[in-house]
């Protein structure tokens, strides 16, 4: 199901922008990837709901890329939950238990999405 949505989004992107800037296109493709993830997860998951909210509000999808490593283990423990909250959409408003659950689902979905994109790319390039 995710695949259908993603491919249709890719199709649309290709149709609308044949010669646009590469960064704009990649941004749109990335947005389509997250959208297809969120749609496939539906509203059952807190992270997908947060993701859909972000997409609908048309805000720029900002993803934390750089991780500032904490030095001491004690600080690292407390920071980890925060770091995880920043990574997983909808994170800040979850308690630890829910956070772990959502992280598991998010990882599963991300893995499927990455695999999907990989296979699409392979099939195109071959």
């Amino acid at each position: 199901m995710m695949a259908c949505h993603f491919l249709r989004a890719l199709f649309r992107i290709q149709q609308t922008s044949t010669s646009s800037s590469s960064s704009g296109r990649s941004r749109r493709i990335r947005r389509a990837a997250y959208a297809s993830m969120a749609y496939s997860a539906g509203t059952r998951r807190a992270w997908s709901r947060a993701l859909l909210r972000k997409l609908r509000s048309r805000a720029r999808l900002r993803f934390p890329r750089r991780l500032s490593r904490a030095a001491t283990p004690q600080r690292r423990d407390m920071d980890q939950a925060q770091v995880l909250r920043k990574l997983v959409p909808g994170g800040p408003s979850m308690d630890d238990c829910k956070l772990l659950e959502e992280t598991a689902d998010y990882i599963r979905c991300l893995t499927t999405q990455v695999r999907l994109m990989q296979t699409v790319m392979d099939s195109i390039s071959s």
Partner: protein
């Protein structure tokens, strides 16, 4: 009365609401005085009362006027994306607030435990209640509203509820931060303590958890339940993340998880650039071939169709009929490059079948993820060379025999 005057000045349309505001303010002060001697953290709640007056007057007024329906949260959500979360937080601590008022203001530790428990339950409840309702946070407001009403003492009625909500609003953010931190510390510190407790009964480690032998100790029971939940989830995560099962210790496991999530997100980003690159490449190549610009479109439509045909048999057994009808439809459309539009009726039909079995969705993912490499590669090679229609029919038949 000063509050009435100030609030009257603050918002022009609050003329009719000022008596309510005054009443609620008086209640606020009462609550403040009640809570203050018992609990330290809730003095932050008292202090936050002044912070609440800094709230946009509209929101406060709206809260007072419309405690039930979801309009204020909806408007709040539209203004700021985190307001929805705030609203949920408000609800969460709304439960905590009702419980605090009813507690015999005894030891503060019990209060903290109960508040933590109820906040957990509240946040657990809200997604469950809202899963049917969709995205609107207003719906989350309603079930806790109806929930809390029987618990509240009757004569107090409405003005008290929104006042409590107002009061605890800012404190919840702080309290959650505090509690999450303390919970983190507790869970990380308690794990070695827990193991020691299970191994030996008498320990020099004098703590509430040392009494865990008795099942009647509610704190440790709740804590133990929470810890076990968290441990179970951590185990799941360990299985998901490759190479994590060998690592012992929550900190390292969490580190690995964080790294994994970051790498996945980075992969999603990076995969786009080669995507774009290959797009232009494929276009150039196919221009030299006879398929020209039509080919990329057929690529996608073919892939899309293949995947939808695959989704059909995977999702529902009776969906084979739907899958069988697709190739015929596609065959008729093959000449037309508008196949993408014609196929719209088919995939939604398959989606309906998919939605009927939500439990299978996770398995569909795995199946999709595992099956893709084989199917797509075979279809891709066939699409390039042969007549698309026959190849598609062949491949869909192949799919069915393989499945």
């Amino acid at each position: 009365m000063e509050p009435r005057g100030s609030s009257g000045v603050g918002s022009g349309n609050s003329g009719t609401y000022t008596p309510e505001i005054a009443k609620s303010l008086r209640f606020e002060e009462e609550i403040q005085s009640l809570i203050d001697p018992s609990f330290d953290a809730s003095s932050a709640a008292g202090g936050s009362f002044t912070a609440l007056l800094g709230l946009p007057a509209n929101q406060a007024v709206e809260l007072l006027h419309h405690p039930g329906p979801g309009e204020p949260p909806a408007s709040a959500a539209s203004s700021s994306p985190t307001a929805g979360d705030l609203w949920r937080l408000r609800l969460g601590e709304h439960h905590a607030a009702t419980d605090t008022l009813r507690l015999p203001f005894g030891c503060s530790s019990t209060f903290e435990e109960r508040a933590a428990r109820f906040s957990v339950f509240a946040t657990d409840d809200s997604p469950a209640s809202s899963s049917g309702g969709g995205l609107s946070p207003g719906l989350k407001a309603e079930p806790p509203d109806s929930d809390s009403q029987p618990t509240l003492p009757a004569p107090v009625g409405k003005p008290r509820r929104p006042s409590k909500r107002k009061e605890c609003e800012k404190s919840k953010a702080k309290a959650v931060a505090k509690k999450s931190k303390s919970a983190e510390e507790n869970t990380s510190a308690a794990k070695p303590a827990a193991e020691e407790n299970t191994s030996g009964d008498k320990l020099p480690y004098v703590h509430v958890r040392a009494r865990r032998g008795q099942a009647t100790d509610s704190h440790s029971l709740a804590e133990r339940a929470r810890r076990e939940k968290i441990n179970a989830r951590m185990k799941l995560l360990q299985e998901l993340v490759p190479g994590c099962s060998k690592i012992t210790g929550t900190a390292l496991v969490l580190d690995e998880i964080i790294n994994h999530v970051q790498s996945l997100q980075r992969q999603v980003e990076v995969r786009h650039l080669p995507h774009h690159y290959h797009h232009s490449l494929s276009l150039n190549n196919f221009l030299s071939m006879k398929l020209a610009a039509v080919n990329p479109r057929i690529d996608f439509s073919g892939l899309d169709h293949i995947l939808s045909a695959e989704c059909g048999p995977l999702a529902v057994d009776s969906g084979c009929g739907g899958g069988a009808s697709d190739p015929t439809m596609w065959a008729s459309d093959t000449a037309a490059s508008t196949g993408g539009i014609r196929r719209m009726p088919a995939p939604p039909q398959i989606w309906h079948l998919d939605l009927v079995h939500p439990q299978q969705s996770s398995t569909v993912w795995e199946n999709n993820g595992a099956a893709h490499p084989h199917f797509l590669l075979s279809t891709a090679t066939s699409l390039v060379g042969y007549d698309p229609a026959s190849s598609v029919i062949l491949n869909s038949n192949q799919l069915k025999t393989e499945l």
